[in-house]
């Protein structure tokens, strides 16, 4: 049945070459950072490190993890991600479950209030002043509370719950199970794909955020996150080379952080994600498309 044509062969070559090139362009920066991070910091200054380290060394990582401030930031980033994700999944599941039940009195009202947040928001400055007024400035809770309810994630999970056979919840009800039991004992265990998807999304959101740190907790050193520390190092390096008189302010690691340390920090910030996500890939594609189509 297959017809081979010269045009097709040409197109195929072109497609494979193009995709391989784009893949390489995406992957190379990470490989390069990896090589630099494991190379001797002094040797790195000579340049010419591409895919592999020239002089193997763990010094860069040693410097990062022996710096109290960076180690603290690393720990806090982990604490934030773990608590934020655990609470986030819990809240997303509860809200999505209630909204998926047709009999729930406030289903339409709550659903409307939630979906509207996708389109309406107060904006940067009004939100900033709100956080200030409710005394969440320089408070660990500012990392958790505003992100606890996310309309997008709830819609995805709600769609998934709605796609499950309704007999499940009904028979649980017959057996006298309460809503909490139905959700946690029956629905969640069979909703692994969507739970995995949302877990990934929430965890990445927490792990990657730095702007809330910058805006709401930049004066509290003990609340510094790893992304924020990396951002400060980046800013100081950029301003240095831009030759501008920009004030670097709080960056205390060192005035000019060598490229090698910057590379190592970037790897520290990136690797946890790279380790986790390929395993969840088949779930999140499923989760993404279900949510999108259902919406």
């Amino acid at each position: 049945m297959r017809s081979f044509k010269a045009g097709d062969a040409f197109l195929n070559t072109f497609l494979y070459a193009g995709l391989a090139l784009f893949g390489a362009m995406t992957l190379y920066p990470f490989l390069n950072l990896f090589a630099i991070s494991f190379n001797d910091p002094l040797d790195t200054l000579k340049g010419g490190i591409y895919l592999l380290p020239r002089v193997w060394s763990m010094d860069n990582y040693g410097i990062i993890f022996s710096n109290d401030r960076l180690l603290g930031a690393f720990t806090l980033s982990i604490v934030r991600t773990v608590t934020g994700t655990a609470l986030g999944i819990l809240c997303t599941a509860m809200f999505a479950y209630a909204l998926s039940l047709r009999e729930f009195v406030f289903r339409n009202l709550f659903n409307g209030v939630l979906v509207l947040t996708l389109y309406v928001n107060g904006g940067l400055i009004p939100t900033y002043l709100l956080i200030k007024n409710i005394h969440l400035m320089n408070n660990f809770l500012v990392y958790l509370l505003p992100l606890l309810v996310n309309a997008f994630f709830i819609i995805i999970m709600r769609s998934y719950f709605e796609s499950l056979p309704s007999g499940l919840t009904e028979s649980a009800k017959m057996d006298g199970a309460g809503h909490f039991q139905t959700l946690f004992r029956i629905l969640l265990p069979i909703s692994l794909p969507v739970v995995a998807t949302i877990t990934l999304f929430v965890a990445v959101m927490h792990w990657n955020s730095w702007f809330d740190n910058y805006l709401y907790a930049s004066r509290a050193n003990h609340l510094s996150l790893l992304q924020y520390e990396l951002m400060k190092i980046l800013m100081s390096a950029m301003n240095q080379s831009a030759g501008s008189q920009a004030h670097v302010g709080e960056s205390t690691v060192s005035v000019v952080t060598p490229q090698a340390i910057r590379a190592a920090m970037t790897i520290v910030v990136t690797v946890p994600i790279l380790v986790v996500y390929p395993f969840l890939q088949k779930y999140f594609i499923q989760g993404m498309t279900v949510g999108a189509i259902k919406e």
Binding site: V113, L183, S241, T270
Partner: protein, 316 residues
């Protein structure tokens, strides 16, 4: 469930919201704290919009600051910097939208033609990576690659002989938009292609077989089957994102910009931040938020109107 309904209890059943709530107390327990959070963090900031019509002073608060009508908007529209910033926001939003839209479709079409499973899967896995890393990481990568001091791009260009002096990309204002667009494209194109790949895999295979019988090549099949198959989804997604052009982020511009390229890198939110924190005028910040919301709503409505007019279907 409806066992033993007699007329009396049915009459009672209608006004008994309170009773229903009592029965569903578990569901309320699940949702009430969360809806409170939504109201606090998503709706209460709207109260701050009042500031835009006041000469807001932090010590006096919203309740104590004097009202000045539309003065703050007038002040905003008389500021030349505001129009620069508005231009930057719209141009960068538009460039991202177009590049991302075309890129995602092309990538999905290309991946859809790949028959070697491991190759397809590897390319997919790799192109999704940048979506999951933060802009801080992307900005770091960009800074390293574009650096005039041993950055890879400079080395390459010098070796090929296109330039003889190291070129400082990040300090050239005219380069900011292309660099920003490229990085956003690089970061998100793989991720955005997921939805199109899903649509492509849902196209009826009979169509392709029929085309094979008729002797159509790959390119013809793409043009006559795959692309028309993608169009409905593509148009809906494109239209939905038009309203977001002005709402698009500020993290990337914050991290990639520097004082030298400020006239091309600053966007509305960063301008609002600068105004609020450096000059202490929070009213301007609120005015910008209102302006953004109004423009975004107008854009969505007019696109919807145009779509109806041209007959390509109702979108909202």
């Amino acid at each position: 469930m409806k066992s033993g309904i007699n007329p009396a209890s049915r009459r009672k059943a209608t006004p008994s919201l309170l009773r229903k709530m009592l029965i569903q107390k578990e569901l309320l327990l699940m949702t009430a704290p969360l809806i409170t959070l939504v109201i606090v963090f998503n709706y209460m900031p709207l109260y701050g919009w009042i500031m835009a019509f006041q000469d807001y002073k932090v010590v006096k608060g919203v309740s104590g600051s004097p009202f000045v009508g539309f003065d703050k908007f007038v002040q905003l529209f008389q500021d030349d910097q505001f129009f620069l910033v508005l231009r930057n926001t719209l141009v960068m939003g538009f460039l991202n939208l177009i590049a991302g839209f075309i890129g995602a479709i092309v990538l999905a079409l290309a991946l859809n033609e790949v028959r070697v499973k491991w190759f397809k899967r590897s390319v997919q896995t790799i192109t999704y990576i940048p979506h999951f890393v933060s802009w801080v990481v992307v900005a770091n990568i960009a800074h390293m690659f574009l650096s005039p001091d041993g950055g890879l791009l400079n080395i390459l260009l010098q070796k090929i002989g296109i330039i003889d002096q190291p070129f400082y990309f990040m300090a050239k204002s005219h380069w900011f938009w292309p660099i920003h667009t490229f990085l956003s494209f690089w970061k998100e194109v793989g991720w955005s292609s997921i939805i199109y790949l899903a649509v492509l895999s849902g196209i009826n295979p009979d169509l392709f077989e029929a085309a094979d019988v008729d002797g159509a090549g790959k390119l013809k099949k793409m043009w006559h089957i795959s692309i028309p198959g993608l169009m409905p989804t593509a148009i809906i997604l494109l239209t939905l994102s038009v309203g977001w052009i002005i709402q698009s982020g500020y993290e990337s511009q914050f991290l990639l910009g520097n004082p030298i390229v400020l006239d091309y890198s600053e966007v509305l939110d960063l301008y609002a931040l600068r105004y609020s924190f450096q000059i202490g005028d929070y009213s301007i910040g609120a005015a910008i938020s209102i302006f953004k919301s109004v423009v975004s709503i107008l854009m969505v409505l007019s696109i919807n109107y145009l779509a109806k007019r041209t007959g390509s279907g109702r979108l909202i």
